[in-house]
């Protein structure tokens, strides 16, 4: 662990760099897998059950019925309102993220069905700048709320985010109230938000729409914290509990409704969709 004071939002909750470890090597039990093996196992280690980070497209494919997902607002792109330049320009970081991930932003929204139940989805991708929430993520989520309200279907959000995108300065903080207001409008229309928190769901995303789910479920071992363990330790010098900030601790303290392993997630969400549907079908 480095000794510098690290109180970032975008980066502070990112998992410890795994050194030279291959992305297909399990950080918990060091088992190594081929791409197709991991894909078949939904990126859950068949040996120890560790949940690898899952990309947005794969997540959507794993949750929705085949060929039912229709993406919306795919062409939204971030601007650079502050001409932000640190060691590199923000625009360059954006372009690089798009090249690397094949996504226009850190969230994919659209409609689809889950076990035949129509719903709207808003799914984050941690690979795009740490899943950080800037203007486009806020706008996409906001539009997903409206689409769900208009079609009279529930919204499922799947979050994976280090927090607000500081390259957009105060506007990134404003995505918190923006998404909160969007959820309130969704609720006024009578539709629920089902929030699925995956590793990591932290800072600005945890402190806004993700925590407003009518039902909140998390994946095993996911870090769900406003402030991550490193910063808490450095700031307070407190001794941290073993499972500090993890889904398991959050369940114990009453902040989430359930921990659902990834292979069971689709059936679990489908059951909720049936329960929220007016006819129960």
């Amino acid at each position: 662990m480095s000794s510098r004071i690290d109180v970032s939002i975008e980066h502070r909750n990112v998992p410890e760099p795994s050194g030279n470890q291959h992305p297909n090597t399990c950080p918990q039990c060091s088992s190594h897998y081929r791409d197709d093996e991991l894909e078949a196992a939904l990126w859950v280690c068949p040996h120890c059950g560790h949940h690898f980070t899952m990309r947005a497209r794969a997540r959507i494919a794993s949750l929705t019925d085949e060929a039912t997902f229709v993406e919306e607002a795919a062409d939204l792109r971030s601007e650079d309102p502050l001409d932000f330049f640190d060691l590199r320009p923000y625009t360059e970081r954006l372009a690089e993220a798009e090249m690397k991930t094949g996504l226009g932003e850190a969230m994919v929204i659209g409609q689809g069905t889950i076990d035949g139940n129509a719903c709207e989805l808003a799914v984050m991708d941690f690979a795009f700048m740490g899943g950080s929430m800037g203007s486009v993520v806020g706008e996409k989520f906001s539009r997903a709320c409206d689409a769900a309200a208009q079609r009279g279907v529930p919204l499922i959000s799947v979050t994976a985010s280090g927090g607000a995108r500081m390259q957009e300065g105060i506007l990134s903080l404003m995505q918190l109230p923006k998404t909160v207001c969007a959820v309130e409008d969704l609720h006024d229309s009578g539709q629920p938000l089902i929030s699925v928190m995956t590793h990591p769901t932290t800072a600005g995303v945890l402190a806004s729409f993700a925590s407003l789910g009518d039902v909140i479920v998390a994946e095993p071992g996911a870090l769900l914290a406003f402030t991550g363990p490193r910063v808490v330790q450095q700031t307070t010098r407190e001794k941290l509990p073993e499972d500090f900030g993890l889904a398991e601790q959050n369940l114990r303290f009453g902040h989430i409704d359930a921990i659902v392993p990834r292979p069971e997630l689709k059936a679990y969400v489908a059951r909720l969709l049936r329960l929220f549907s007016p006819n129960g079908d």
Binding site: D6, I9, L87, S135, G169, L173, M174, G204, A225, F253
Partner: protein
């Protein structure tokens, strides 16, 4: 010392007075927007001025919430506790008479001396603090009291207990409650508007900001530590993410700038309170005739419009 910076500040103050007359609360429509933009191009603060704002926003003699309350309110009654498990001293709530009406007030509160600073946790609220604020919001809604919130927080407290008690969720729910209120809400950032801890009580119909306050998604030190890999580059970070009032106005994040006495609010608490009181009064008067449904609808529409994208 007080030469160049002082002169620039005085000059900026004059410009800002014009800006706040022009702008903010009463401005709507494209024409005014362009006019405002024109003004701002001339008023854009330099990197030095931005850093000066950071220093003034954190100045140890800067007036805090209770300094303003004592000067602006009659019949102030402070309320305590979240009715759950604690009374968070980093955040004060209460009822008072302001401009002839009863208002509910929530404000972050820092301490003056070491003892009080510790007691108030350096102004950093626990989840219990936000629950305390939410209790006041519900009270305001029930009795139709306008809600005032004064924001001055370095950030929500980053500690083990704070996490275990649900810091993130509580900040989200405090905002959600504000989005549901049918009473007028006016917020002013009076010092540090630090990230999630600040927005938790800032989802308002009118968001004001004092001339030398800052409003940030992350502290300049924090930003520098990540992006420049050196917390010492805070000045560069601040210049890059522009937390000052003029830039916040430009981005549409705030509605108006509240002027401070020359040299900053810490130089004259009475004058600072008078200027703040006038702005709060104006904003409340604007909102008084709006129906609860319209307040709520417009408040949400305003926040839902924030962001820049293509």
């Amino acid at each position: 010392m007080a030469t160049d910076a002082e002169l620039r500040l005085r000059e900026r103050l004059t410009r800002l007075r014009n800006l706040s007359l022009l702008g903010g609360a009463r401005v709507s429509g494209e024409l005014e927007k362009l006019q405002r933009q024109l003004e701002r191009i001339q008023a854009a603060p330099t990197d030095e001025e931005i850093w000066r704002s950071v220093e003034l926003a954190r100045h140890q003699d800067r007036p805090y919430t209770l300094d303003y309350v004592n000067r602006l309110f009659d019949d102030w009654v402070e309320l305590h506790g979240d009715r759950g498990r604690a009374d968070d001293h980093a955040l004060v709530i209460g009822l008072g008479r302001f401009g002839g009406r009863t208002v509910a007030l929530v404000g972050n509160q820092k301490g003056r001396d070491i003892k009080e600073r510790t007691e108030r946790n350096f102004g950093m609220a626990y989840p219990e603090g936000y629950r305390k604020a939410m209790r006041l919001m519900e009270l305001a809604e029930l009795h139709r009291f306008p809600l005032l919130s004064l924001v001055d927080i370095p950030g929500a407290y980053p500690g083990v207990a704070a996490e275990q008690h649900g810091q993130g969720g509580m900040i989200a729910r405090s905002q959600a409650l504000m989005a549901r209120l049918g009473v007028p809400i006016v917020t002013c950032v009076i010092g540090e508007g630090g990230s999630g801890g600040a927005i938790a009580t800032a989802l308002a119909d009118r968001v004001l900001m004092q001339e030398n306050a800052i409003y940030t998604v992350i502290s300049p030190e924090g930003c520098a530590a990540i992006l420049w890999r050196d917390a010492g580059e805070a000045k560069k970070a601040a210049a890059a993410f522009k937390p000052d009032a003029v830039h916040c106005l430009e981005l549409g994040v705030i509605d108006a700038i509240v002027p401070e006495p020359a040299g900053g609010a810490h130089t004259n608490h009475d004058a600072a309170a008078r200027l703040l009181g006038e702005s709060l009064q104006d904003a409340l008067e604007d909102l008084e005739s709006v129906s609860p449904d319209d307040l709520k609808r417009r408040r949400r529409a305003k926040f839902r419009s924030l962001g820049v994208y293509a």
